[in-house]
Amino acid sequence: MEQQKRILEIRPRWRKVFSDLWGNRIRTLLVVASIAVGLFSVGMIATIHSYLTNDMTKSYAAVNPANIQVSVSSFDTDTVDAIKHVPGVLDANGVRLVNLRLKAGPDQWISVTLVAIPDFNKMTINQVRQVQGQWPPADHQVVFDLHKLPDANAKIGDLVEVKLPGETTTRQLKIVGTVQDQTIGSSGGGGGYFLAPLQGYITYDTLEWLDQPKELNELYATVASDPNDEVHIRAVADKVSKKLEDNNHLVLNSLVRRTIDHPNSVYVQAMTGVLFMMGFFVVFLSTFLITNTLSGLLSQQTEQIGVMKTVGARSGQIIGIYVVLILSFSLIALLISMSVSGQIGYQFSRILGTQLNFTVGAYRTVPLAILLQISIALIVPLAAGIFPILQGARVTVQEAFNGTNAAGLEQKSDWIGTITRTIHIISRPMLISLRNTFRRKGRLLLTLITLTLGGAIFIATFNVRASMEDYIKRLSKYFVADVSLNLQYPYRVKRVDQDILNIPGVAMVEGWSGARVELLQADDKPGEAVRLVAPPVDSKLIEPIVTQGRWIEQGDQNAITLNELFLSKFPNLKIGDTLRLRVNGQKTNWIVVGFFQFAGKSGGYIGYANYDYLSQLIHTPDQAATYEIVTSGQDHSFQAQKAEGELVESYMDKLGYHISDVGAGNNTLNSASSGLNTLIGFLLVMALLSAIVGSIGLTGTLSMNVLERTREIGIMRAIGASDLTIMKMVIVEGVIIGVSSWFLGSLLAFPISNLLWVAISTAIFNASSSFTLTPTGFLIWMVLVLILSVLASVIPARNAARLTIREILSYE
C-alpha cells in the first residue's frame, strides 16, 4: 500500500512516459538502438583516438627513445662518456649491432640483428619492456623481441643456431626471454618496423664468443631540452658527430628523431583521419535515423495528444511530456553505450597496439568520449525530435481524431496514386505497395538518406580496401623476384649469374648494386641513412610507381629517384635539385629526376640510381652483392619462394659464397604491407558500424509503416486479401526502399570512397595515389540490404497477418 502510494505520487503524465517506454518494448528498443548506435560509435572512436594518440606517445616516451642515433665505425665507453658532456646532450649510451643469420628451419636461415649491451644496468636509452622469461640475458644467451619471433620457429628455452658472418661456423644461443622494443624501425634506413628483421639482445661477452669485436658501433643520445624540436635535435646531433670526428671516429650516418615520433606513428595518423571522418559520418547518419524513428513514434501518438488536449493539456505540457520521453530514450541509450563503448574501444586499441608495437596502458575512462556521448545524447535526439514534437503539439483535437496532422500531409495530392492507377500491367496489391512506399514522403526520405549514407560508407570501405590491396599489388612490382639473395660482399655478376642459373628452378637472375649512404646536410655533416638501390637499367624485375618526374634511364650518371619520405621531410625538394650524399665516405652530388611511391613514410629513405654509375662510384664495377632471382615454376606462393630460397642458399653456400641473407619476394612484400593490412582490418570494423546503423533505420521504418497500416490491413483482410497477399505487399515495399537506397548509395559511394582514400593515402604516403573500385562492396551491400529489407518487413507483416479482422478493426 505504501509503495502504491509512493508510485501514485508520480504524476500521471510522467507515468505515461514510463508506460510508453515499457509498454511497447520493441519500439523502445528500436528508438534506443537508433540513438545508442551513434553514441556507441562516437564513444568508441573517441576512446580509440585517445589511446592511439596518447598511449602511443606515452609508451614510446617511457622507453626514453634516442633523439640521436649515430652509426660509427667503432668506439668505446670512454667515448660515450665524452659525448655526455657535449652541450645539449642529456644522456648517451653505446651498443654494438651485429647482423647474423639464424637457423629457422632445416635449410632455412633468416636475418637477425643482435644488440650487444655493455652494461644492462646502465642502458637508459631505448629501453625494452620485459614480456616473458628472463631479463637481462646472461652470457651465451639471448632475449628476443616479440616482433618476428615466430619467424625463428623457436620459443623460450630453445637453443637457436646463429651463423657467424663470413664463416661457416655456428654458435648456439639459448633463448631465455622475450621483450618488447618499441624503437624497432626507428633507424630509418632499415625499411621501418614491418621490414625490420628479428632483433635479439646479448651481453658484451657473448660478442666475443661470436667472434665479434668488443667495440661499440651505435651511439644513442637524448637531448637535454626541446626533445620534440627536430631542428634543435639536429643541431645537437651535429655537435655529437663533430665530437666523434674530432676524436678520429668515422661517422657513418646520423639520424634524429623526436621523442613523440613512434616509428609507426604514420599509421596512427592515417587511422586518426579515418576515425574523425567516420565519427562525423556516423553522427550524421544517426541523426537522420533518430529523426525518422522519433517522427514515426510521435505520429503514433497523435490521437493520444488529441485526448490530452480534450482534458486540458496545453502545447507546452505536450512538448514537456515528449521531451522527457526523448530524454528517457537518450538516457537509456547513453547508459548502454557508455558501458560498452569504453571497453570495446579499449580492447580494439590493445589489438592495434600489439600490431603497431606500442603499449596501451590500463583501462581508463576517456573524459572526451564521455563528454561527447553525453552531449550528443542530450542534443541530437532532441534536435532530431523537436520538429516532430512541435508538429505534434500543434495538432488540433480535430486533426488528431481525424488522423491528419498540422501540415495536413495526408491530404496532399496523391500523385503516386494517380500514376499507379494508370498502370495496368502490375497487380493491384503490388501497385498498393508501390503507392504505400511513397505515402509517407518525409519518412521515406529520411529512411533513404540513412540507408543511402550507411550503404555508401559500407561500399566505400571496400573500395578503400581494394585501393590498398591494389596498392600492395603495385608494391609487389618492387619485389617481382621470387628470391632475393644478398651476399656479404660484391661478387662478379657474370660469375654469380652463371652459378645461379645452374640451380634447378631458376629462370632468370639480375645482379643489383646498392649501398647504404648518408644524406649530407648543409654543412656537409652526415645525416640520415639512405638505402640506395641500383638495378640494371633494363631491369625486368621492378615496375616503380613514379609520382613525379621519371625513373632512371640508360645513360644516367648521377641521376636519382627518391621515395615519398623525402617529400615529407623536405617539402621544397623538387625535380632538378641537387642532393648531396655521402657514398662510401665520399661526398657526391645527385640530381633528382623523379619521386616514387613505396610503402609509406615509415619505410625510411630509399633512392634508386643507375647501376653502372653507382657500381663505379663504390668501386665495384660489374659486381653486385644483391641478386634478384625469378623461378621458372608456375607457383609463386610464399611457400614455393621459400623452398626455392633454401635451395639457392644451400647451393651457393656449397660453392663457397658468403651469404648475408636470402629472402622470399613475398616475404618482403608481406612485411611491407603489414601496416596497411592493419588499416584494412580497421576499415572493415567501420564498415560494419555503417551497416548496423543502416539496418536499424530500415527495420524501424518498415515496422512503423506496418504498424500504422494495421487498420488498413484489417480492411483488406475483410474484403478477401489472403495472409500471403498482405505479406507480399509489405515485403515488396521493403524491397523497393532497399533497392532504391542501394542505387543511391552506390552513386554516393564514389565521392566518399575518394575522400576516405585521399585521407589515408595522404597520411601514409604523403600523396594521394590512384583509387580503385571493386564490385565486392556493391554486391555485398546489395545482398545485405535485400536480406534486411525482407527480414525487416516479414516480422511485422507476419504479426499483422496473424491478427483477426475483429482485433484489427477494433485497434486504436
Partner: protein, 209 residues
C-alpha cells in the same frame, strides 16, 4: 456550411439531448460547443467567457476545467491504468492538490463502481466499463458541463441504460449534461430535446422538471 443559424442557451441542471440523422450536424455543433472545432462565424459563451475568442492553449485549459467530454470510442489513454486516466485532467489543469488527486480519482471510480479495477489498463475491462471510466475522467475536475458524443453507440442496451442513468443523476445534481445521440429512447429521460436537420435547429423542446 455544416451549421446554419443555430442559437441556443443551456443552463445548469439540464439534461439536453441533441438528436438528428447522420450528417445533420450534431457532432459539429458539439465540437463548436467544446471548442474542438472553430467557428467560421458566430459565438460561444460559457459563463461570461467568450470561448470563440480563445486560442488553442486557452481553449484546452478552459475545456479541462469547465468541460468533461465523453466520446463514443471512450478515448482512454491506453498506456495508463484506469486510475491514472481519471487523474490525468487533474494533473494537467492543476485544480487539485497533487497528493489528494489519487484519493479523489479513487472516489470517482467508486462512484462508477470500478474501484476494484483501478490499476488495470483500459484493454483489460469491457466497453461499458471503459465508458464509465471515461465518465469518471470527465468529472475529474468537477466541471459544470458534461458533453457526451454518442456515448452509448458501442454499448449494449443494458449498459447504455446505466450510462444514461448516470447522466440523469449528474443533471439532477446541478450539472449541465449535453448528449448527442441517435437513440430516441433516451429522449424520455432528457429534460430537453434539440433536433438538428441539415445543419439547422428545427426543434428545441425545453421540458420543465
Amino acid at each position: 456550411m455544416a451549421l446554419k443559424g443555430i442559437s441556443a442557451d443551456f443552463y445548469a441542471g439540464e439534461f439536453a439531448c441533441i438528436v438528428g440523422r447522420s450528417g445533420a450536424g450534431k457532432s459539429t455543433l458539439v465540437n463548436m460547443i467544446t471548442g474542438v472545432d472553430h467557428l467560421s462565424s458566430g459565438e460561444v459563451w460559457e459563463n461570461g467567457i467568450p470561448v470563440h475568442k480563445l486560442n488553442e492553449n486557452q481553449v484546452a485549459l478552459w475545456r479541462g476545467r469547465n468541460l468533461g467530454i465523453v466520446y463514443q470510442s471512450f478515448r482512454l489513454m491506453p498506456s495508463l491504468c484506469l486510475l491514472d486516466n481519471v487523474m490525468l485532467p487533474m494533473d494537467l489543469c492543476g485544480m487539485y492538490d497533487r497528493k489528494k488527486s489519487p484519493e479523489r480519482a479513487m472516489t470517482l471510480l467508486k462512484d462508477v463502481e470500478l474501484e476494484n479495477h483501478a490499476f488495470k489498463p483500459p484493454s483489460a475491462v469491457s466497453g461499458g466499463q471503459q465508458q464509465r471510466v471515461a465518465i469518471a475522467r470527465a468529472l475529474a475536475n468537477d466541471p459544470p458541463i458534461l458533453v457526451a458524443d454518442e456515448p452509448t453507440g458501442r454499448l449494449d442496451s443494458m449498459t447504455a441504460d446505466i450510462i444514461v442513468e448516470m447522466f440523469e443523476k449528474l443533471a439532477s445534481q446541478g450539472k449541465l449534461v449535453i448528449m448527442v445521440t441517435h437513440d430516441t429512447s433516451v429522449l424520455s429521460k432528457a429534460t430537453r430535446a434539440i433536433t438538428i436537420q441539415d445543419g439547422e435547429l428545427i426543434q428545441d423542446s425545453k421540458k420543465t422538471g
